[in-house]
Symmetry: C2
Subunit: 192 residues, 2 copies
């Protein structure tokens, strides 16, 4: 039994290595640079090994996305729990969200731009994704305002953040004015 356990442990470790390396490569260069050949070379195994862990390259992207979602949820909770009062919480949340997207562009792409084969807003949505949305909901729900469904409010606020994040990173919005944009968004959308 112990032998089998060791093998399973090694397999799990290698799987983590694959995901971490894919993320690293995507972050260092971009997702186009993450080919199965290059990825295999970096983990010092042959290509088919990747396919003994994941059914497709898409699933690898999905795994990176799940890691990212967990990290983002943690970052959001850390920021909001350190802030005093609803207004400070929402501002901290917005800044942290945009900061995460700016600092981890490849991971953010895996989560929201690329096809990682993940289900969203459905029953079979993976836990980390649901939890990341929950992290948003925790701070945003309290400023939705009377008669506005907290979930709906969170969706709209999130969409605004997502729009700012993607348009800025794609060069569609000049990055200098991020801070006043955040202030405007918080001032207007949240009922404080």
């Amino acid at each position: 039994m112990s032998v089998q356990e060791r093998k399973e442990r090694e397999r799990a470790e290698r799987e983590r290595l694959i995901v971490a390396t894919a993320r690293e490569l995507a972050e260092q260069q971009d997702w186009d640079a993450v080919t199965t050949r290059r990825l295999a070379e970096r983990i010092e195994y042959s290509q088919p090994v990747l396919y003994s862990h994941f059914r497709s390259k898409r699933e690898i992207i999905g795994a990176v996305a799940l890691d990212g979602a967990a990290e983002m949820a943690a970052a959001l909770r850390a920021a909001t729990s350190a802030a005093d009062g609803p207004r400070a919480r929402v501002t901290a949340l917005a800044r942290t969200y945009l900061d995460f997207a700016a600092r981890n562009p490849a991971v953010y792409d895996a989560m929201f731009q690329l096809d990682g084969g993940l289900a969203f807003a459905k029953a079979d949505t993976p836990e980390p994704l649901k939890d990341a949305f929950a992290a948003l909901l925790e701070s945003l729900g309290e400023v939705a305002g009377d008669g506005v469904h907290p979930g709906l409010f969170t969706e709209v606020f999130w969409a605004a953040l997502h729009g700012l994040a993607t348009l800025t990173r794609a060069g569609r919005l000049p990055p200098e004015d991020t801070e006043p944009r955040v202030e405007l968004l918080v001032d207007r959308l949240a009922m404080l």
Copy 2:
């Protein structure tokens, strides 16, 4: 001279055919289906002909994006000029924007998701893109509120719309609640 003119005319026509066919193919299937081989086959020329018009596939995407921007600007202006009062204008603008994105997903992707090699928010930004932003600015600038720069306000509102459009289309947001989301966005962001 007439011969040369005819040839130039035919060349321009073929270029339009390439762009229109790329768009059609992307809209019928998706951008992954738009390979240079398939595109060449559809226009009934060989692959290299594409490269006598465009330096790369990316430039073809860019051309589709420019067409789309012009169309979107026209749609936005038509909708807002038919509306009475600032509130109705902003609501019409938001609905039209999201409607355009939903009805022309491939074009919207070419404009904002894919790399069409276009410059944004820069001096050398192509005219149709600047004009589309101008169309947004015309209706949104008047509801920015005192002391808020109209351009900044437009950027934030646009980002929110973009976020709603992309997240909805990617299945990240359930599509049913689009209308209440638009209402919330207009109610809160615009100073009416």
